[in-house]
């Protein structure tokens, strides 16, 4: 089955990105297709290659980045929400790309299910 994922919060203040990551990972392990993970609102902060979590804590930017590359999953960051929050091409972690908000609607059209994670 085809899933689209929307992440509305950054990797620290809320659990949204953790839950989205765990869900996405489990879905891939079960053989489902992830059409796209779209990052909106403060969710764009999940794509920042400047983030350096404590060494004994999980690193969600790295986890998403690796998942995106290993499973060839599109990790799309809303360009206008990102611009406001300081996300540019230069500080995107590998595997993430900036895109228009239309790609969120596209994810809804192309997916059998869209699942939203937020605060």
């Amino acid at each position: 089955m085809k899933f689209g994922i929307l992440v509305n919060e950054g990797p620290f203040n809320h659990q949204a990105s953790d839950s989205a990551y765990q869900f996405t990972w489990a879905a891939l392990q079960k053989g489902h297709e992830i059409v796209r993970v779209f990052f909106y609102h403060d969710g764009v902060n999940n794509a920042s290659n400047l983030s350096e979590p404590q060494s004994d804590d999980r690193n969600l930017v790295k986890l998403w980045s690796e998942l995106g590359q290993e499973f060839d999953v599109e990790l799309m960051v809303c360009v206008s929400a990102g611009l406001r929050r300081g996300l540019t091409e230069e500080n995107l972690a590998p595997g993430f790309e900036l895109s228009g908000l239309g790609q969120l609607i596209g994810a809804g059209i192309d997916s059998d299910r869209l699942i939203v994670f937020g605060d």
Partner: protein, 135 residues
């Protein structure tokens, strides 16, 4: 309202696919950005010619309250974008009756015409959707 114009998505990739999209607004304006940024999602969706419904419930009904004056908090007023919805053919606007009643509000307090649904009717409408985006 948005940095992107809907026009830039007018390609042929999605021609013919029409899904029922519902956008649900449940949070008050200004205290958080969700309603405001959701406006951009709703406007962009019009370029894809989908069957779009927009719901206001819980404190989301305050997004449509008449008379927002944001000058003294120095934030952008969300009202003009809702008034512009009609021009983008976004006409299916729903408000939950229970949310209005609990706040002592009536449809006359709202700045655009809406259809008022009971929680049960709203639940039935939600069940008909293909994609629900909430914030």
């Amino acid at each position: 309202m948005t940095d992107e114009t809907p026009e830039e998505f007018e390609d042929d990739e999605y021609v013919g696919v029409v899904k029922k999209f519902m956008f649900i607004n449940r949070k008050a304006p200004y205290g958080s950005i969700y309603g405001h940024e959701m406006q951009e999602t709703i406007l962009i969706s019009t370029a894809f010619e989908q069957d779009v419904s927009v719901v206001f419930m819980d404190d989301g009904v305050f997004l449509l309250k008449k008379g927002h004056d944001t000058a003294t908090i120095n934030m952008k007023n969300v009202s003009p974008a809702y008034r512009a919805f009609k021009g983008y053919d976004i006409e299916k606007l729903y408000v939950e009756r229970e949310s209005l009643d609990a706040r002592g509000l009536s449809p006359n307090d709202l700045l655009v015409p809406v259809e008022v649904l009971s929680a049960t009717e709203l639940g039935d409408l939600m069940e008909q959707q293909d994609i629900i985006i909430s914030a």
